[in-house]
Symmetry: C2
Subunit: 430 residues, 2 copies
């Protein structure tokens, strides 16, 4: 029995899937708030032209430019789909478990997929530099990488409280040649107002976004890149699920349950959207589960218009949201700590297509389940991906109780080599 | 132009290549020293039966058992071969550069290839536990991983001076469920004599080997595993070069220069031996270069019988050696710090088939060249693998001067996600 299916380069999917025209009802568009300047009219100043076009496209399939396919291959795509035979034995479950290996990413996460696409488009449009913000650090690292590969400069504004202790990730961004500023920084007007008052200001994602935006708007050679939430970002990520579908054909199997962790939604969307398309268009029956944290169970929030950022710079998006100024406690799976879910996934959640489970903030259950996976399968998931793994194991154990032979597919969105102190802290390793 | 060639699972090589019968003269056998007990007669008590058989085999090709092929696939084999198109452009060289991606390994290095084979054989032979020593930590992590996957317990004796500061790697071994002891430890007789005198004793590879051996010899359910130098270890690693040969066929190309870093020789051997076979049997002309450190340029040492360990527990092997009690200063590429090269590679070096280059101990040139690679290609090599990368770039720049369109193949034996402080220290990243 095969325990892994690879694809050769020429079998890489050559089109992205845009689910928008297939949604059960029209996707609510971005909206301006009642007061203040128009955020929507400002979008062309913020976003890469082609990405803005994609954001509102009603085309069902979009050809991936050859230049981006080349970059995907440089990043090691296609990536294998594994059957978790050892884990199945260990759990003594009749379920079959399959996992996708985004952990083979050069920077450690799936974020490189859209980072490469965005940098390629930015270069085509004549930009010389990309700016962004980062919280946990995965997105900043991915953009630093993609900019280097595509031949662009990169500036990252990194929430100071994280910047101060994730030194290894900082060195990695520096190796890719990025300029990295602890945010709030003295290099932007907005950052400087806060920095001058308190040079040790902890910062926040909202502040860092404001700095990244200001920097790119003041430099005609620079543009801004976003790593999650938006429609075009999720579409770029569908390469994950599209590969997985091809690999399931080779395994001669098909999932009953599709699981991934969900913060803003780029990883969950990238993995699940092609399968959601099968449900919407082909009448397939699949249970979708988003694995979340109780500190940020955004899919359990209200479905309403909200800002995507703390500072209210973005337009309002119709999202399942906890409120854009909600305080959320730090967790090891920090990439899941976001107040809202992407509009596409929020609509599908609202319509009943997506279930959600939220794990306690002490993360013990998440990391204990994941340790079983590590011992059985040998791969080290990122703390965020550990939520995927945990949920898949919980579902497999339900099958053990019920005797159901379900096929469970989950995505491991990144590796945990830069996150071993998190494992140590939660599991008390000595 | 394709920048990456993958193989599908069914194209994984199903036989290992044993070069011994093809060597230009018979391989000198292990020898006992003039005094003391026979080390050779003791080998069956130290080694896994099948591995001992393989060590002296004259068979040219050995079928890889299906169970080991399954484990290789669980570990993500086959691994891609990349064409370094961005790096070529950056260097403005007429040379073509190809690199093999052992960095996709679950523990970060090529060491898993022989670890999985040895653990599978140990399990077949009825053992329940494997013991070993480790210095830099790559081998201990690989064996901890392989033991977990194969369903064995694992005990690692780890040189205390390294154990004390590589905490992340320790946590990784613990996640795989291994027992890890700082060596010298109080749990073996030999270790205890040293530990009782000084519980902070820094330890050495020789001491750790002695502890691993004593532990396994005192437990009939345990056996000992070695990660380099020996013939069977290099044979297990030939999976790397055999895959690479298939991938070069698909690229419709063939190397003029084959490069890898060399400590004990398992990575260099695994990558180069199938190509050395082409030279010996098919008359191909290839330049082989072992990339080494000036602190341990063992291929430039004397070709003579020497012990493989400081404590003189092993038989004597005919090796290119600096002397088994030579002091070698610590470097970031610590896995290259070994006094002797494997007997197979030493004979081929002695016969003029392998060149060697040794880089200065400050490692500046090595890491600076590697930073160029990282910026251009986006992958983060382990410090040891950085020597491979450095040498490949130096050769490509020679081609720029001479105008030669050489095809240069090099192996990146592992990733550097656990070694970012090393990059920081040498390059002064801030």
């Amino acid at each position: 029995m095969n325990t892994m299916v690879n694809l050769i380069s020429k079998d890489i999917p050559t089109r992205w899937y845009n689910i928008i025209p297939d949604l059960p009802e029209p996707l609510p568009p971005p909206m301006d708030p009642k007061e203040g300047p128009s955020r929507i009219q400002n979008l062309p100043n913020l976003m890469i032209g082609e990405c803005l076009k994609q954001e509102f496209s009603q085309e069902n399939w979009m050809d991936i430019p050859g230049g981006i396919l080349d970059l995907f291959m440089k990043a090691g795509r296609p990536r294998p789909l594994f059957r978790a035979t050892n884990l199945e034995k260990r759990l003594n479950t009749p379920a079959k478990l399959y996992y996708k290996s985004e952990f083979f990413s050069p920077t450690g996460s799936h974020k490189v997929n859209t980072a490469l696409a965005q940098c390629w488009y930015a270069k085509q449009q004549g930009f010389e530099r990309v700016t962004t913000e980062t919280g946990a650090g995965q997105w900043g690292t991915a953009l630093a990488y993609a900019a280097a590969i595509a031949g662009l400069k990169c500036t990252v504004y990194w929430v100071r409280s994280v910047y101060n202790w994730k030194k290894d990730r900082l060195y990695l961004m520096k190796l890719f040649g990025a300029d990295v500023h602890a945010s709030p920084s003295p290099v932007t007007e907005f950052g400087k107002t806060l920095y001058d008052k308190n040079p040790n200001h902890n910062g926040s994602l909202g502040i860092a976004i404001s700095e990244g935006l200001e920097d790119s708007q003041n430099d005609p050679k620079a543009t801004y890149a976003l790593g999650s939430v938006l429609n075009h970002v999720l579409m770029h990520q569908t390469i994950i699920g599209l590969e997985t579908q091809k690999q399931f054909e080779i395994f001669d199997d098909y999932p009953d349950v599709v699981i991934s962790c969900l913060g803003g939604g780029s990883n969950f969307g990238g993995f699940a959207i092609p399968f959601l398309g099968d449900v919407l268009k082909k009448g397939k029956k699949i249970k979708f589960i988003a694995a979340q944290s109780q500190v940020a169970p955004n899919l359990q929030g209200k479905y309403e218009y909200d800002f995507a950022d703390y500072a209210e710079i973005t337009p309002m998006l119709k999202m399942c949201t906890l409120g854009h100024r909600t305080d959320m406690e730090p967790i090891k799976g920090d990439g899941l700590r976001y107040h809202g879910s992407s509009p596409i996934l929020s609509l599908l959640r609202h319509k009943g297509y997506i279930d959600t489970v939220a794990y306690p903030k002490d993360e013990k259950h998440v990391f204990e389940n994941t340790k079983m996976f590590i011992e059985a399968e040998g791969w080290l998931p990122a703390p965020e991906s550990a939520y995927s793994v945990c949920c898949a194991i919980d579902e497999a154990l339900k099958c053990k109780d019920s005797g159901e032979k379900k096929v469970i597919a989950f995505n491991i969105s990144g590796h945990g080599f830069l996150d071993l102190p998190g494992y140590q802290a939660v599991l008390g390793l000595k």
